[in-house]
Each structure stands twice: as C-alpha cells, then as structure tokens.
C-alpha cells in the first residue's frame, strides 16, 4: 500500500482563515464535510503549481484533475503564456487607456469562434452571462428567460433559485426552467408565452454537479436553434466551463449549431483574469447600447495571455489532445475499477468528464475512493466534473491508475462489505 498524505498545515491555516474570512474558504471550496472537498481528506491551501501539478502547504504533490476548476488548460505557468504576460506587464497592465492587445484579442476570437462577429471582455463568467441576459432583453424588449435545470450561470441573484440566501422573488420572477434534453417541454413553454421570451440560456450539454452528465440528444440543438429563430428568442450559450476544451470554434460549433451569443471564461487565458462574450453581427449595436464596464476590464496582461493561450491551443490542437488524454485516463480508470469488481460510470465529454462509482447508492463508496486517491496524490473531487490540461503525460496517467488501484485496495479495507 502507498503512503498517504496528511494535512496539518492546511488545517492550521484554515483555523487562521476562519477568523478573518467568512467560511475560511468560500464558494465550492468551502470546508463542508461530505460536499466537494471534505476536510478530513483534502488539503485546503496550495504553496505552488507547475504544469499538471500543484503542491499543498504540507509539501504534498498532486496531479491536479480540477485545473483550478477549468482555467488551467495548458498546464500551470505555461512558458509561452507567462512570457507574453510578462512582456505586457513590463509595458503596463491596468492603464487609463486600453492597449492594442485588446483589439488583437478580439480579432483572434472573431477569427477563431464560429459564431463570433464581435467580442467583448469582462472579468467573471457571470459578467458574461449577465451581459447576455441584458443584451437579450434590450434587443427584444421582452423580460422572460428560459434556463435549463441544473445549469450553472454564476452567482448573480437572477442565476440562483429562490431560497438561496439574499435572493428575493423579483430577482427570478421572469425565469422559466425546463429539463435538459426535453425539446417538447421547451417548445410548449415557448408557445405558452408568445412574444414574452427574450432569451434561452443554456450550457452546451448538461454538466451539473452530483449527477451523471448528459450530452445533447440527436437533433436537440438543431431543433432548439430553429425554435429560437422562429420566435425571435436570443440563443445564448454558456460556454464558460466547456469553452476551448471541446472545440476552439465554440461548443455550439462542436454540436453543429450557431449561437447568437456565447460566453467564455476559465480556459480563455490559462488562468489570467478575463472573460468574454462573443456574438453575431445583428446584436452588436444592442451590445454597444448597454452600459457595461469595470475597473480592470481594459487591463492588457490578461489580453496578452489570452492571445498566447488561444494561439497555442490552436497550434497543438488542444481539443483533440485532451480527448486522447481523456480516453486513456478514463478507459484506464474504468478498467482498474472493473479489476476490483466495481463499475465506474464515465459521463459528459472526455476533456471534462464526470465520474461516479455506481455500486453504492449512498455515495459512501464513491467518496471513500475519491478521498483515498487524493490522499495518494491524485486530486479528484467528489461530485463535480473534472478537467484535463495538455501538460498531462502518459507517466502522469500511469501514476494516476496506480493510485486508483491502491485506493480501491484501501477502500476494501476500510469498507469490508465491498472486499
């Protein structure tokens, strides 16, 4: 059996953080037992990162399959990206006027993204989705928006459900929800609200937490596209999570349709702080009519980093590479599970696969195995999709499979009912 990690320094730092930061670590990284990152088995603070790895504050090394929840697509501190960022930083970052890098980045996105006639930059994925909703309302003069259940569009009150702390009824009073992949329900909903729907906002496929991810049914997107066109509904794709991992031309292009608006963040600049919304020519004037800006939105370093990121992703054909890595990795993990008599279900797209051990309805087995992997240097989380980056090597995958194997052995000792 492999040696397992412990996290005394992480635990001390969390205690220190709790004194001055609400929750200590907030959002999905929060220290809630049984959730994404149960504190009993996971570190909470990183000391450094490089390529496919990060090291925690106790000196433990992890192969990182969360990739900062998406931004790391070329490996941490990619040389090409950091060189471009540093060169720009020497010239200036957040200055009173933007630099030419902003134009060059917009040109590159228009050239790269199939549905993009223009690009607009902000800072959070939620800035982009909120802008999409606002553009759709301004364009159509309508108020209502349709969302797919379980899709995540950020932390704005409109993107939450009533019952979430601080959300009031009016924040979500124009929201309508449909089940993923249920075209008929969507069509019915649209017909129940003639001339009232400004926007359909959706992720390219269903990659929610806690459930198997689900790809679009055959013809789903072509029918949705036709429905939106027929009813004058703005079709906004939230590509914040999938963007540039499935297809550099956009996940709408990958699934054979064309969005009116498409939102990017995460993989856009390999961790440098920028998000983008791209759109069709017909919406450019309306986008210009919405007052939308922020203190750091013209900063040049993220634009320079984004240009270097997209150029490298193109040169190495990153989506193809990630798919190959994903095939080797998930195929191997399924085989290792099978060799121990377990079924590991892989769902979603390979560059950001979701996995779940199906032999236990209580999640105890699954969470125990994930924890055992983490404690051996392979950073998975319990109920979130994972992410791949192009710095992962065959040796990393081999190490991962060894860890997965040892983790199953450990789980059988811990939970003798599965031995």
């Amino acid at each position: 059996m492999m040696q397992t990690y412990s996290y005394p320094t992480s635990k001390q730092l969390l205690e220190r953080a709790l004194k001055v930061i609400p929750s200590g670590v907030y959002g999905h990284l929060g220290p809630v037992e049984g959730s994404m990152l149960p504190p009993s088995a996971f570190p909470f603070y990183a000391s450094r990162a490089n390529g496919a790895y990060f090291w925690d504050v106790d000196g433990n090394r992890f192969i990182d399959y969360m990739c900062a929840y998406g931004p790391n697509i070329l490996g941490y501190n990619d040389e090409e990206v950091e060189r471009a960022a540093n060169e720009q930083a020497g010239l200036g970052n957040c200055v009173t006027l933007p630099s030419i890098k902003m134009i060059e980045f917009a040109e590159l996105l228009v050239d790269t993204v199939h549905s993009a006639d223009w690009a607009f930059f902000a800072k959070n994925g939620g800035d982009a989705t909120s802008f999409a909703l606002t553009i759709a309302r301004a364009e159509t003069g309508r108020k209502k928006a349709i969302f797919v259940k379980r899709d995540y569009h950020g932390v704005s009150p409109w993107a939450k459900l009533i019952g979430n702390a601080g959300v009031v009824e009016e924040d979500v009073s124009h929201n309508l929800y449909v089940d993923w992949n249920d075209y008929q329900a969507l069509e019915n909903l649209v017909e129940q609200h003639p001339g009232e729907i400004a926007c359909l906002m959706a992720c390219p496929y269903s990659h929610g937490n806690y459930v198997d991810n689900e790809l679009p049914a055959a013809d789903y997107w072509s029918k949705v596209r036709a429905l939106c066109t027929k009813h004058g509904i703005v079709l906004a794709i939230d590509d914040v999570r999938c963007g540039f991992r499935l297809d550099l031309a956009g996940s709408d292009h990958y699934y054979g349709f064309k969005a009116d608006l498409i939102c990017f963040c995460k993989a856009l600049a390999n961790g440098h702080n920028v998000s983008a919304i791209c759109g069709i020519q017909e919406l450019k004037g309306t986008a210009a009519s919405v007052f939308y800006t922020g203190s750091y939105w013209f900063s040049s370093v993220p634009f320079a980093a984004g240009i270097a990121t997209i150029q490298k992703l193109k040169r190495i054909d990153a989506p193809k590479l990630l798919r190959e890595i994903g095939q080797k990795l998930t195929g191997g993990l399924v085989d290792v599970a099978k060799s121990h008599g377990f079924h590991l279900n892989i769902s979603g797209e390979l560059p950001l696969w979701y996995m779940r051990i199906t032999d236990d309805d209580t999640q105890v087995l699954h969470q125990a195995w994930i924890a055992a992997c983490v404690q051996r240097g392979v950073f998975f989380t319990n109920h979130h999709n994972h992410f791949l980056n192009t710095a992962l090597t065959d040796e990393d995958i081999a190490f991962t499979l060894d860890v997965a194997d040892d983790a199953f052995k450990a789980v059988k000792q811990l939970l003798p009912q599965y031995a």
Copy 2:
C-alpha cells in the same frame, strides 16, 4: 505656445476596433463626442505606462490624472508591488486551492480597516456592492434598499435606472432614492417604510460626474449611522472610488462613523485585479451563508500585490501625501485660471478632486481647456473626478501648471469671446 499632440495611430486603431468590439472602446471610455473623452482631442490607446505617466500609441507622453480611473495609487508598475506580484506568479496564480496570501491579505485588511472584522475577495467593484446588497437582504429578511441619487455602484441592473438598455422594472422595484446630504428626507423615507429597508448603500461623499462634488454636511454621517442602527438597516459604504485615498482605515473612519459593510476595489492592489468587501462581526455568518464565488477569485497574484500595496501605502502615509500633492496642484491650477481671468472651482476631496470652469454655462470653455491640456500632455477628462498617485513629483506639478497656462492662452485664441 507649446506644440500640440495628434493621434493618427489611435484613430486608426479605433477604426480597427470598431469592426470587432461593440463601441470600439466601451463604458466611460467610449468615443462619444462631448462626453468624457471626445475623440477629437484625446488618444484612445496606450502603448506603455510608468510611474505617473502613460504613453499613447503615437508616442505622446501624458501625466495621467485619471490613474486608470483609480487603480493607480502608487504609480504604474511600482517596483515593490510588481516584485511581490512576480514572486507569487512564479509560485502560482490561479490554482485549484488558494494560497496563504489570501489569508494574509484578509488579516492585513482586518488590521487596517477600522470597521473590518472580516474580509471577502472578488474581482469587480460591482461584485462587492452586489454582495453587500445580498448580505443585507439575507440578514434582515427585507427587500428594499435606499440609494443616494448620482452615486455609482457598478453596472448590475439593480445599480442602474429604468430606461437603461436591458434593465427591467423588477431589477429596480425595491430601490428607493434620496438626495445626497438631505438627512430629513432620508429619515422620512425610512419612516414611510417601517421594517422594509434592508440596506442603505452610499458613497462616503457625493462624487458623481458632470456636477460639483459635495462633502458630507456636519453631523450627516453620525445621524445616518444612528438612524440605521435604530431601524436595523445595514449601512453599506461603497468605498470603491475613495478607498485608501482618504484614509487607510476606510472613508467611514475618515468621516467619523463606522459602516456595517464596506466595499473596496481600484486602489486596493495598485491595478492588480481584486476587489474586497469588509464587514462587522455580526454579519460574518450571513456573509458565509451567501453562495458567492468566481473562476479567478482565489488567484494569489492580486493578493500578493494587494499586500505590498497596502503595506507601502501605510509606510508612506499615502493619504497625507496625496492631500499635499492635491493642495499644490489644485491651488496652482486655480491661480493659473485666475491669472487668465477665469474661475476654476475645485470640489470633493483633494486626492480625487473634481474641477469645473464656472465662467461658461455651456461647458464649451471648460471642455476646450481640458482638450488643450490633454493635447499638451496633461491627461484630464471633462466631467469625471480626477485621481492622484504618489509617484507625482513637484516637477510634474510644475509641468502641469505650465500646460494649464498655455492651454488657457490657446483657448482664448480659439474662443475670442473669452480673450
């Protein structure tokens, strides 16, 4: 007469940008004649920046009194800040887990900001103000919020007025507005809505665009503070613009009261991308109950830069220094104007003064003088408050006053009615 700048490269780039970016340059930087930055007299793109200066793409140098609209407080590319940022960048920036820098930055803010028992970090000033509103609603179970007319809290629909593109009635249906400095109107409003007001959100003083800025009346804030306490209203101060320029302990401290929540951005990290909300102990649990996070919110480089910024601001007593620079500069400008027979009115606080030539109700004279200053290398804007940074020298001020003098001469030639 001094030689004046021209901007052929900026104009070419703007044409190029207009093809791929809505408005070409968006927000308050947008190329609308007669507004902040009329395209006839202003450059649109910077090539580099250092200390108190930036250079445009035509090679013209400007003493920059906009400071990236606030973020530049120590001078562009401050050595101490950039050294700290670079050291952290070498270790890692946007990683799956945060670094100890996040805790250290929170501890430093709690130590520095008078009303802060805790700190929470985001990316836009609007992230902080939206979080404040959400916390107040979650804490009180009430829906309504009072805002001061002309205060700017970002680009979220709730922060706009009905009539703005894409804003719907429900976005602002719980907003109430009062005039600045009118305590009696505020008290009346509160009493008209017993038990309904979650939040009063306000800037420390009125620093709106297009009008003279206005400091708080004597006792205004102490009466407001007492009113909020009496009625269980969360008092949220938007210190995004003033923060760390008036008082390192917060602008509430500067004006002798204590906010419940205080929002920072801009000067927080000398241009590195981070915003913060700080609050009192009683609201820490509620803050923790609101799900609020984003893709880059745990990035370590802005935290390292923020720590270096606040430490240097403390060491050099930046607010005192900025006030001294502001006194020399605005005093000099007023004298130069007077020597030409004009009255230049200075309003607001000196580190972010507002100025207006009062001899012409049409703004033609004012805008012509501003344009003439810009075309001679002093970057002012027409109707926005300006900002100071600590890299400004006596020589810079002397140069500015020479330019101001020459600009008045030029204006008299251009507008003979004032000669």
